[in-house]
Point group: D2
Chain length 384, copies 4
Amino acid sequence: MSKQLRVGMVGYAFMGAAHSQAWRTVNHAFDLPLSARMQAVSGRSAQAVAAAATRLGWAEHTTDWRSLITRDDIDLIDICSPGDTHFEIALAALAAGKHVLCEKPLANTVAEAREMAAAAEAARTTGVVAMCGFNYRRVPAVTLMREMVAAGRIGDVRHIRANYLQDWIVDPWFPLVWRLRKEVAGSGALGDIGAHIVDLTQHVTGQSITTVSALTETFVKRRPLPGSDELGDVTVDDAALFLARLSGGAIATYEATRFATGRKNGLRVELNGSLGTLAFDFERMNELEFYDATKPAAERGFTRILVTEPEHPYMTAWWPAGHPIGYEHTFTHQARDLIEAISTGQHPAPSFTDALQVQLVLDAVSRSAETCSWTTVEQPEEKS
Amino acid sequence: MSKQLRVGMVGYAFMGAAHSQAWRTVNHAFDLPLSARMQAVSGRSAQAVAAAATRLGWAEHTTDWRSLITRDDIDLIDICSPGDTHFEIALAALAAGKHVLCEKPLANTVAEAREMAAAAEAARTTGVVAMCGFNYRRVPAVTLMREMVAAGRIGDVRHIRANYLQDWIVDPWFPLVWRLRKEVAGSGALGDIGAHIVDLTQHVTGQSITTVSALTETFVKRRPLPGSDELGDVTVDDAALFLARLSGGAIATYEATRFATGRKNGLRVELNGSLGTLAFDFERMNELEFYDATKPAAERGFTRILVTEPEHPYMTAWWPAGHPIGYEHTFTHQARDLIEAISTGQHPAPSFTDALQVQLVLDAVSRSAETCSWTTVEQPEEKS
Amino acid sequence: MSKQLRVGMVGYAFMGAAHSQAWRTVNHAFDLPLSARMQAVSGRSAQAVAAAATRLGWAEHTTDWRSLITRDDIDLIDICSPGDTHFEIALAALAAGKHVLCEKPLANTVAEAREMAAAAEAARTTGVVAMCGFNYRRVPAVTLMREMVAAGRIGDVRHIRANYLQDWIVDPWFPLVWRLRKEVAGSGALGDIGAHIVDLTQHVTGQSITTVSALTETFVKRRPLPGSDELGDVTVDDAALFLARLSGGAIATYEATRFATGRKNGLRVELNGSLGTLAFDFERMNELEFYDATKPAAERGFTRILVTEPEHPYMTAWWPAGHPIGYEHTFTHQARDLIEAISTGQHPAPSFTDALQVQLVLDAVSRSAETCSWTTVEQPEEKS
Amino acid sequence: MSKQLRVGMVGYAFMGAAHSQAWRTVNHAFDLPLSARMQAVSGRSAQAVAAAATRLGWAEHTTDWRSLITRDDIDLIDICSPGDTHFEIALAALAAGKHVLCEKPLANTVAEAREMAAAAEAARTTGVVAMCGFNYRRVPAVTLMREMVAAGRIGDVRHIRANYLQDWIVDPWFPLVWRLRKEVAGSGALGDIGAHIVDLTQHVTGQSITTVSALTETFVKRRPLPGSDELGDVTVDDAALFLARLSGGAIATYEATRFATGRKNGLRVELNGSLGTLAFDFERMNELEFYDATKPAAERGFTRILVTEPEHPYMTAWWPAGHPIGYEHTFTHQARDLIEAISTGQHPAPSFTDALQVQLVLDAVSRSAETCSWTTVEQPEEKS
């Protein structure tokens, strides 16, 4: 094949497994100018990272992420570790001239995100590429949604109704894992899953959130410490709800929660426009609902588009019509777009500046919830 | 208001209640040349028919159905009694110059049905009108389905997939009611619910069933006699399945059963044509699914038409868009069409001859199941 | 039959037609201590009210609603006229010792509603009954939802997600009808449809809204005057969105809009509790979705309960399982409950005080939207 | 890692790509005693097979499938070429002591299938394993369906309703590809997709089809030869429909068609039992519908089980609950089970004898359609 893109990955848990599947698959699904090579993975525990390297298919492993950055035979650093590590790793990688793929949220604070975005913009001038991993943009049905909005198929977007509903901590005896601790995770449902619907809705509509009114809630305030009988304080939100106004005149409701019993990964977005409506639910990720108000009245209705046709985004790489794809394919599509971008020296979307803008929205949401007041979202100076 | 149509109804059980609701409602929903008057109801038990008259809103009651026919102040005989009574009542009514609405199945045998059809054709020449009560034709979504097929929206119909699924006798201790006795009911699932999908599919496609291969089954062969500990023989089919070829080249599967656990009134029809597909399920009777293969590939899919718009059949009579109607409305629509027909002296569809044709199909199905062979359906000489 | 309940109705448009269908049907569907008699209807135009009386089945008609109140042969005043007329009619009727059924919203202002509630409470002591017409409480699936919450089937309710989505004024050339004028309608989507989801969610959860943060929007600010080329100002909201906290600890998003293209009458409520979830959508009004988190993990999921069984609220009155009912049945159920209440001298829910409480919520929402701040809901002194 | 399983694959089109994805992935998803190695692929065209080897990730390639069999460094032959080649390749591979995975249909004739089954049974005694590739058995929802039937969750199965609906040749100008030629493909929809529902329904119910009545149809009888203006004869069925009786008393309708416009890969199976119902549709492959008739009447309904929980078959290998998997995962699960079987020397299901039994059903269906008569299915002497 072609020239290689040698990857070093930091972290090997849920996101690490998903990224590994993508790197392993991308060149078999797509015809690309660079061939991904899974060079090395790093992690804190020597034993665990060795096992992960074998299981996930990385050629080498290390407990020192810095060693990945100093090696000459690694071209891209793929950051899959918790949010409180992103800042240091990403800055070091960019400084070393490595391309960077960083999982969302970009950082745990606006200050960090701002510095990372500045570093990425500076690196861009030298052909170094940085991308933030909002993988849901690459669900074919979501990409199609964006294309249809851009093509004017639903006219002016007036309403956005965005939920991200999970239920994995409804049980009050579920332990106090790192995702429930503010110092590691930054926030709870808001940053973990709320970030996705903030990014996704802005991405598909082309409108930015300008002002918000929010509330957050922690339903279960103390939980058992992992492997212990003792209880500790939950320091993040279980749920975050907010109203928003957007730059193009749309109004919106957002809801991110880990307490929607029975909803497992219910990322749902509905857009009502002047000419139609589009609706998506990740639990049925191969489908997109479309209402076309320009059709004759007697035949109007919501059309369930099965997004598995060769005419649909990314789908020529996969199976015949009617054969669903899964969650992991979103990461493979992300890897594809990143490889294309690297080969041309273009920043792929979402850039670190895009991710900073999401962080600014989340920050405004947090402040709004704290102050019980409408809060204006600061916009980054330049958004790609 | 206008001239009256004075109705005498025979029978007051399930169908009697549904027809009563229709006669009571029809002139308030539709602007019609005749005003229905609920003159009298007849039934075998003096006490029960008196109570029914009060409950259902009939002005008078009697235990002698013949008295309804001899009265001058009754214009239409509405036959809602079991199938083994239809023949005698309908012939007497037609002979007396009364209009007749007869519930399906028209009769329990082909011979009876043939005679009734002949009598109805004869009466037609004197302005007397006869109609058989296949109410599902008057579900707005079904009427729309027929209109869309007729307009060529799905091209040539190639496949028919018709099920009528119920589950009310899955429990082996459910008693041996009259519907499970051949001498009263004629047949089981076949005549009771299979008749509906035979009529409906022929009606919406405009094609006639020409040949069938069938099997029938009685899963529970003995059941408790009503109000008794003793068991009696079930003498009708619990389920009837058949393959069919139709006059226009379509091929079909039909299935009528009372043993589809969880399916309560699952009358489902799907038509696959050369240009599209239409699908209907009575449990969601306000919806029609439409696939239009002539649309751009990326936007194709099944459109769930909510059949509650003023542009839809019968719906100007009811509520604003999005407000569902129910089962009983099909009888009100039937009453409306019957009144329109009487006022113009036209036989309304389905005529008795149409119903005879359904009976001939059911007869071919029964014989096919008995002989385990493909069986040709006799066609009536003239079908309206 | 039994003793009569003689009804006089004010107004004969959409609500008048729905109420008429209920009065005509209720005694044929249910066995009740009083028999409704459709005595007289009033309306402003002599010609139109005469036609309406004939079409809807009222014995008499008048242009003077006051005459209904002074007549001795009328027991109940049914108020179906626009919101700005409710106050005067209801007070007069109660003063005259008539029972009152008043369509929602109870009034156009809190002050009016407060006075009406006080009058109703006073009248109650003399056996006079007053009820507000929040008909959606009487959808069997909604009543079942309430019963299941009360029985603890979903545990503590944490999330409420309530939308009422319509689209009938998306077209900017739709005329400036009375529902778009504040002086007649009081408010727009908020009072017309938002009122329903406020009432319904409080009713099914047993929790009261205590504080809100809202935004409202008018997307199309000028529209053609009816029958004219000139444009006039739309003086009500097209859409109202708000966050809320409830008395039992639940948090909620509410959205009422007439700009959700393709959603015709999308009244949707989802409740997430500590043990399960319940979800309802009026466009499929015969269904209720239930997730039971106490079942074994491998068999958990959303159960689509077809609410047509004899075990379900109100359903013994209607058809066999699997046979849907429609919108109008909610009014028949309301009439049934009202007749039961009158016969026992009990105020039926929702009382005028319940309706006042809804009005207080709507008022807090309006003020929150105007002031862009969280606003506390005043609670009525006594809520039945 | 562990000991290797060195694979040689014959064919590299649709099935070859799916199998390659499985071999590449299986050891990264599951912890297994053998590690798959993609040793070599064979194909007829030197240039095409070289390109396929690169794209799909095979270490070597050849135009001579026999060379794969004679090599010592290949342990398993994976047959993904058209049906008319299976017989010769499988027999040669088994004779050489290679394990065999053979795509369905096992062969194009019963005679071939019988010989292959005998060879596989003989090879079994020497520890050589043979499996037929009915991948849909390994959809987690289908495996769960089988487990639930076996556990008695729906009681005695009475009805089977099985459809496999596609639409890729509705267009009469679609060319006469090899799948439409009897000499290569054996049959049309019947063998290609009908085989899947025959296998799947027998597998999940544990009942065998004993007798059938069938019809087949070719709607478009002549089509353009590939790359030509000339027309050639379509020599296979476009659609095959049949009724069946099964060994456990169930009755069934089967339908396989390539003319169900809008249905892309609509493999649907519904089983009605004495205690409940299970229903599956591959277009929503992560879901299983379950009706449990033993629950209280007011809470009964169809439960949509999202089959993505760790408690579900195969799912611990993948992502958190609510994250769908896709079509290709069924092949990875198949590879997993095959590797497990090889490591223990057990024939995995479906064995060649199982596949022979499916072939015998298809043969009976074909003969029934030709003779227009009920036809008994011959059963293989021993079925694993």
